[in-house]
Amino acid sequence: MKKETARTVRAFAIELAIYAVLVVAYFFLVLHLLGQWLYELEIHRRYVYAALAILLIIGQAVLLESVITFLIRLIRGRSE
């Protein structure tokens, strides 16, 4: 039981580390590129911005969940 817990914790730590690297890259690439464009949109086309805001957050949620699921399968699958 203890061995299994240790394996799960180790897999989670690896998953977290990989995820952190991906997220940092995401901050710099995507948000930096989108920032000014979204700012302009928020000022001039508020309704488009509102709809896009929802699509962006849902899109990110689905994307990141897929990344997490993939990482879990990859790391835990290998550790078993």
Binding site: L16, V23, E42, R46, A50, A53, I54, I57, E65
Partner: protein, 308 residues
């Protein structure tokens, strides 16, 4: 990192950490965590109108992930969630209009701060009273031999008699909720509970799970595990509407919401798994300190005027 939409300068690590913590809360308690996220954004320097709107946007993303996981575990009553979404949307719009009114009057920060403190403290006191009373009742049942071993995961509540009285109110139309084990309940009771939740959501931000989740358990009589999952499903619809409404009014910085959400994805995963190891009253008892932490942050911000 500078966020041009709100004009705020906030560390992305701070935002991702806040997102991670409220992700755990969301997965475990089925709440959006706005009692932490709102005050945390306020502490970082956002005005309340931006904190409310941005938190709503972040809640949408977080709820999508957590609700999918709860759906896989069979913790979502789709019929109840769809009905509640209608009431919540009405309430959220009224709440968002109230925020606009206060914004125009120039006292949004003071009024929302005071209301949030009162609401958070009231919820914590009520849930402390109820869950402790329920756990005592369960212990008594175990001692009398009614519950084998005294460690049942069956969902009892000290508020049970009130819940049963509410379920006896027969105002047409009546709705059956077989997934939640309710033979018949008035549609208006469900809509009223949802409207009040929506009102808090539009006014204080987030999904208002801190008021809707207890209302679903105590007023509608939904088992806690189902209330958690259904609340998350319902929040996707209502918070999307709230986000749109607030964004049109200029209260959403989607970049902040996106950064917070990156942390929430991991947190939600941990929270959902944890619900499988605790019984309903224990989940509710663990919930008690959380609104108090939110209230403490708001009081601190009000007194010191401190921003991170």
């Amino acid at each position: 990192m500078f966020f041009p939409i709100s004009g705020a300068d906030i560390s992305p690590i701070y935002l991702a950490t806040v997102g991670f913590l409220i992700g755990i809360l969301g997965g475990f308690f089925g709440v959006g965590g706005s009692f932490i996220a709102g005050p945390a954004l306020r502490l970082a320097g956002l005005d309340w109108n931006f904190a409310v709107g941005t938190d709503l946007a972040h809640i949408v993303g977080k709820s999508v992930v957590a609700a999918r996981r709860h759906r896989a575990l069979g913790n979502v009553d789709l019929r109840l969630g769809s009905i509640m979404a209608l009431g919540t949307i009405g309430g959220a719009e009224v709440g968002a209009q109230a925020i606009q009114m206060l914004k125009r009057a120039g006292n949004v920060n003071l009024v929302v701060s005071i209301v949030s403190i009162v609401v958070y403290v009231s919820i914590a006191i009520f849930m402390l009273w109820e869950s402790r009373k329920t756990l005592r009742l369960e212990k008594g049942r175990a001692q009398r031999g009614l519950v084998k071993g005294g460690k049942s995961k069956k969902d009892y509540s000290a508020f049970g008699p009130v819940t049963r009285a509410i379920q006896k109110v027969k105002i047409w139309p009546m709705v059956a909720l077989p997934t939640s084990g309710i033979a018949a309940i008035s549609l208006w009771t469900i809509l009223l509970v949802a409207f009040v939740g929506g009102l808090f959501s539009g006014f204080l931000g987030g999904g208002a799970g801190y008021i809707r989740m207890p209302s679903m358990v105590y007023v509608l009589g939904i088992p806690t595990h189902l209330a958690v999952g259904t609340d998350l499903f319902e929040i996707i619809i209502s918070a999307s509407y709230g986000t749109f409404s607030h964004a049109v009014k200029g209260n959403v910085d989607i970049l902040i919401a996106l950064v917070m959400h990156t942390g929430a994805v991991i947190g939600a995963q941990i929270g959902v798994i944890a619900t499988q190891y605790f019984a309903g009253p224990k989940i509710r008892l663990a919930f008690v300190p959380l609104p108090l932490i939110g209230a403490a942050i708001v009081i601190y911000t009000m007194i010191s005027g401190h921003k991170l």
